[in-house]
């Protein structure tokens, strides 16, 4: 639609992932999609649909068995261990369900962590922390430790950490999974805000249709295969309803019937 003119920042071409082990398992089958720059995409699917595998491929902790992934013009598969680490450090930000702040560091230190690894000048680090703290309303709690934070504050810190190095793409894995509805709303609005104002590309894996309704586009996968995708419309309410409709097709008994049918 309106993203036609933009260049894709993530390209997946016929990506297949097979786990070989005692039991061979095909986690992804010929998945093929693009994510445009500045897009906010949700990936939904029932448990075992291959969401985690997809995320692992995107953050280059795993490589596809077949097919090609290009992220920001780079093919992670071709990089060395070291280059992958640098790639992650500079290009990608992560937000997890388990908030995963480093317990022994304060909020401020957690925020600044990715920058210290790159050896930025101290003044610039301080500036960026201040900016980020203002944006995420963390100024009051910069000196606190993670175990002194509420869930929402912790997740905001984690988002700050994922954004501070100005990544080209942010990957989020159930960022609202552990939060109460108020904090979840805050976090989602924050992500939406960042997407709109910073033009940061966000790919979010989620179970939660409310979370998905904040996105520009929702991609459904099932049993490792592309199932459907829908785009945002004017009102979040109706988008949410449409997501629910697809989900009702996707999960549960509807599919049981369809798999009974022989090809």
């Amino acid at each position: 639609m309106n993203s036609q003119m933009k260049k894709p920042i993530v390209k997946m071409e016929d990506v297949t992932k097979i786990y070989e082990g005692k039991v061979m398992h095909r986690a992804l089958t010929q998945l093929d999609f693009d994510v445009q720059e500045g897009e906010f995409v949700a990936i939904m699917g029932p448990s075992g649909s291959g969401k985690t595998t997809l995320l692992n491929l995107l953050m280059a902790t795993d490589i596809p068995t077949y097919g090609k992934i290009v992220i920001g013009g780079v093919e992670p598969e071709t990089l060395s261990q070291n280059e992958i680490a640098l790639f992650r450090r500079r290009q990608i930000g992560f937000v997890f369900q388990e908030i995963n702040l480093l317990q022994m560091l304060t909020v401020e230190e957690n925020l600044v962590l990715p920058l210290t690894l790159d050896g930025l000048p101290i003044e610039e680090m301080k500036d960026r922390v201040q900016d980020m703290a203002k944006k995420l309303h963390l100024e009051e709690i910069l000196e606190r430790r993670p175990d002194e934070l509420s869930g929402g504050q912790a997740q905001r810190t984690a988002i700050g950490r994922a954004l501070i190095h100005q990544p080209t793409i942010v990957l989020a894995d159930e960022p609202t999974g552990n939060l109460d509805s108020k904090s979840a709303k805050d976090v989602l609005e924050l992500l939406e805000h960042i997407n709109l104002h910073e033009r940061t590309t966000i790919i979010m894996v989620t179970h939660d249709p409310i979370a998905a309704s904040y996105c520009d586009r929702v991609l459904f996968i099932k049993d490792g295969e592309f199932f459907n995708e829908i785009y945002k419309d004017e009102r979040r309410q109706t988008f949410f309803q449409r997501i629910l409709n697809v989900l009702s097709l996707l999960g549960g008994n509807v599919n049981d019937f369809s798999t009974v049918r022989l090809p």
């Binding site: 953050m59 680490a85 388990e98 480093l102 950490r161």
Partner: protein, 644 residues
């Protein structure tokens, strides 16, 4: 599956967790068993082992036992903590606390049995090899392998009771804590960030005070310091680890210039947690390694004392016969025949030592003939000296005497023989052990000597001194044994039949001293080895306990984009303080302790222990570095292992 089978399978399937624990226990059992084998060795008991070494061995066994108890106690606690999630699941499934205790009891006892059997088995296999090392170090006759129930009984008895104590106490560690806490895994680490500023300063000032006192110690104050310094150091060390170190690290943390650089942020903040968590353990390790360093250092310096023995005792055999000694000729004949029988080259010189009253000092003065001295000196390869009639030389009794007398000119008159002598300087060669020919001895030429004999008749003869110069002096330890026992017998009978002679066999004495010291040193080294292994294992166990937490952290860092090399650097910066802080502190402690000990040493024997000490400390450093790499390797591979 019965309950016992369950326990058995638990141990078997948790073997990776238990492996380090098991190995350390096996090692302690093995060392304990080897000591016992030596302690009960039939040929040691009755022949060569001095009481002091067997006492040392006994003490070593006791220390080893107590230390192993502590060690197992701590490691057990770490393991139970590491497995708390598992226990949580068991309790959730409806296991009674009592059953859980029984489970742990059975598991620990199983492990105890296994390590006792393995340790004794390996110990027994290595005992021949061990005896060979002892033989090589101590230079004793071959120790045959023997079979006796005693060492087995001692080892089994000691460790069985030890494991029983541990497995009885162990469940207490998990008694507190609700199921949900257990399930949650690592227990909450509270008060990790609390420290008291005043206590921190107090700790470091205690240490500084002790160091200053140790540096400026004098001979007069050493005794009082002996009682003052150990408690000072102990308390200082404790507060140093619990408060001073956190104080310093937190201060560092505030320096963003420094703290926000590279991996320092992670490694320092991680160190803060670790050091605080393990402060008590580090304290124990520090004190124990200080004691180990010091005992090894002291023993090593004793060995150096032995090696300077030859300088002090240049003669191979010494026989001193006083007038009216009926055995004189028989004994000398016996010694020469024994030397010839054993094919030992010797050079014997007979000194007749006269005694006169000096008019100058009013003291008794001993007189020897220059010709005799020249004969002995030539056997050492020195040039003969000349003396004019009426002139004499001092024969210094010791090295410090020599420097005092070197410039002295004395005119004296010998009372009994009415002879006047000019005494000018000293006889330059050191041919005798200290005080061999009396404290106040002069050398005259043969004419004067004969005149003294003529003038004062028989009464002037103080004693006859037979000096045997033997190049292979260490081989004489079997010479004159019967004379020795005669001396011993007279000491036992005290004054009932006093002997009119003295016999000294430096070769024999040396072999005794050497044996005792090297055996003690060996025991000390083995003990230090156990301490050392155990302190490294402590650190490893603590690492193991926090492994799940560390893995999570590793995953986070990996996602943030940390390269493998950076991760290794972080691990280095985390492990190095844990390894080298306790060790470094004990190193500094020992250096200062030896500084003050050197004062005693100077007073006692005029020898320096710097060389030995450097060697000991260097040896430990190398071992520690090796151990560090070993454990780092294990740790990194555990961290990177996919969750198991």
């Amino acid at each position: 599956m019965t309950f016992r089978q369950f326990a058995y399978r638990n141990v078997l399937r948790n073997r990776r967790v238990y492996a380090a624990f098991f190995m350390a226990s096996v090692f302690s059992v093995m060392v304990f068993f080897l000591y016992s084998m030596l302690l009960f060795h039939p040929s040691i008991e009755n022949t060569f082992l001095q009481e002091i070494s067997s006492l040392g061995m006994g003490i070593a066994e006791v220390i080893l036992f107590i230390f192993t108890l502590f060690f197992l106690f701590y490691s057990m606690r770490s393991f139970l903590q590491a497995r708390s999630r598992e226990f949580g699941v068991l309790l959730l499934l409806g296991m009674a606390r009592r059953q859980l205790h029984r489970l742990i009891f059975i598991e620990t006892m199983l492990l105890g049995f296994a390590s006792i059997i393995t340790g004794i088995f390996i110990g027994f296999m290595f005992s021949k090899f061990f005896f060979m090392i002892v033989k090589a170090i101590v230079q004793i006759p071959v120790l045959p392998l023997y079979l006796s129930w005693k060492p087995f009984a001692l080892t089994i008895g000691a460790f069985l009771s030890l494991f029983a104590i541990i497995s009885y106490i162990a469940p207490v560690f998990i008694q507190q804590g609700k199921i949900s806490d257990l399930l949650h895994g690592d227990m909450a680490v509270e008060s990790v960030y609390t420290y008291s500023k005043s206590r921190g300063i107090f700790g470091v000032s205690l240490l500084l005070l002790a160091y200053i006192m140790a540096t400026f110690v004098s001979r007069s104050s050493i005794i009082s310091l002996f009682f003052l310094l150990p408690p000072l150091i102990t308390f200082g060390t404790y507060y140093f680890f619990t408060d001073t170190l956190p104080l310093i690290l937190h201060a560092l943390r505030r320096q963003k210039q420094f703290f926000w650089r590279d991996y320092w942020m992670i490694s320092i903040s991680e160190s803060i947690v670790r050091l605080k968590e393990n402060a008590r353990m580090f304290f124990i390790v520090t004190i124990v390694s200080t004691i180990a360093f010091m005992s090894v250092g002291i023993l090593a310096s004793l060995t150096s004392f032995a090696s300077q023995y030859r300088e002090v005792n240049p003669l191979g055999l010494v026989y001193k016969s006083f007038p009216h000694n009926e055995y004189e000729y028989r004994h000398i004949a016996q010694l020469t025949t024994e030397l010839e029988q054993q094919d030992i080259d010797y050079w014997a010189v007979r000194f007749r030592v006269l005694q006169q009253q000096s008019s100058y000092t009013k003291n008794r003065v001993n007189i020897v003939k220059l010709a005799d001295l020249n004969e002995l000196a030539m056997s050492f390869g020195e040039k003969p000296l000349q003396l004019e009639q009426g002139h004499a030389l001092f024969l210094p009794a010791s090295a410090s005497d020599a420097s005092k007398l070197a410039k002295r000119f004395v005119h004296t008159e010998l009372a009994e023989s009415n002879m006047s002598l000019e005494i000018k300087g000293i006889y330059p060669y050191r041919l005798f052990p200290p005080n061999a020919l009396g404290l106040n001895t002069i050398v005259v030429n043969h004419l004067d000597f004969d005149r003294v004999v003529e003038q004062s008749a028989q009464r002037s003869l103080a004693f006859t001194y037979y000096a045997f110069n033997i190049e292979k002096w260490q081989e004489t330890k079997d010479i004159g044994l019967s004379i020795n026992s005669q001396v011993l017998a007279s000491i036992v009978l005290e004054n009932k039949s006093p002997v009119r002679f003295e016999f000294e066999n430096p070769g024999l004495n040396y072999s005794h001293i050497r044996m005792t010291f090297s055996l003690l040193l060996f025991i000390g080294l083995l003990l230090a080895g156990v301490f050392f292994l155990a302190s490294g294992s402590f650190i490893y166990f603590r690492l193991y306990t926090s492994l799940s937490h560390d893995r999570k952290q590793y995953a986070v860092l990996q996602r943030i984009g940390m390269t493998d090399r950076e991760f290794k650097k972080i691990v280095n910066r985390q492990l190095i303080p844990q390894f080298f802080f306790p060790w470094g502190v004990s190193f500094i402690h020992s250096v200062f302790a030896f500084l003050s000990l050197q004062v005693i040493w100077d007073a006692l024997a005029e020898i320096s222990i710097v060389k030995e000490l450097t060697l000991v400390l260097l040896g430990f450093t190398v071992m520690q570095i090796f151990y560090f790499y070993l454990i780092r390797w294990r740790y990194i591979s555990h961290i990177k292992a996919p969750t198991s």
